[in-house]
Symmetry: C2
Subunit: 171 residues, 2 copies
Amino acid sequence: MNAVLENIYTRRSVRSYKPDPVPEELLEEIVKAGLYAPSAMNGQSWHLTVLTGDAVERFHKFSAEKAGRNAYYGAPAIILVFADKKAAWGSRDGSLALGNMMLAAHSLGLGTCWINIINHIFDGEDADALAAEWGIPAGYAPIGSIEVGYAAEPPRDAAPRREGTVNWIRA
Amino acid sequence: MNAVLENIYTRRSVRSYKPDPVPEELLEEIVKAGLYAPSAMNGQSWHLTVLTGDAVERFHKFSAEKAGRNAYYGAPAIILVFADKKAAWGSRDGSLALGNMMLAAHSLGLGTCWINIINHIFDGEDADALAAEWGIPAGYAPIGSIEVGYAAEPPRDAAPRREGTVNWIRA
């Protein structure tokens, strides 16, 4: 099995992190991998916001206030992905960028977990203000976010794959 | 640079294919990679339909009749991805499966291209009938499709990445 397939099969969502920060050069590599995702008509409709340091703590608080709980697991970095609302396929573009980043991180020894809460909390004047302060362009909608950090525990086995999700048609 | 990153950076959309069929064991590996994508709450809301042989030709005709043109480039295999309409994040799940498959294919020496036309043509009684014949579950919506085959030409360089799509927030 080649390294790409092995990386795909061994990636797991990580929900417990060491406090160690993610070296900036690794975050840059992960972000670059996200930007090299394919996108509809090469529109690259995404916008990425990389949170580290105090910005992570601040976002935890914001998330907890808006959602009633903090959905994040305490990783030292968070990457928020938004997409241009005018891009008809922005959720596809953004998801592909997030997918690339999860795989790139795993290949670099880092864990990630898609945290979907940003689809619920970026709503209202306080959210608009935070988005503007962080340079997220107006008219962009949340797609998803990932936490990035070193896993605190060894990964569990993958959950079983659901039956009956593939059909082969030859004629 | 590790093999996973190199695979991400060198993947390109392929729009010209050799007629050579894709060995079935490679298609199976690509499909498996798709099924190992993460999904919201591990819902695995996707359904994959793998077309080879005459089924590809038939789908070209169907696509051409519905859309006024055949959007496919003639690769010997097509994988259609649908997702359960009841899954709120089905477009994310399906996109991650498609992303994994594009990367897995590239690692195996195969080219792919996301063809979005299925989002337009699976509409109407004729589409419902074809979906039912091919075992696509009722209540599933198209997400995207990929062609899979051997590239007929060497890849071009990646288009430039758009400026201003990443912000770093540290406090």
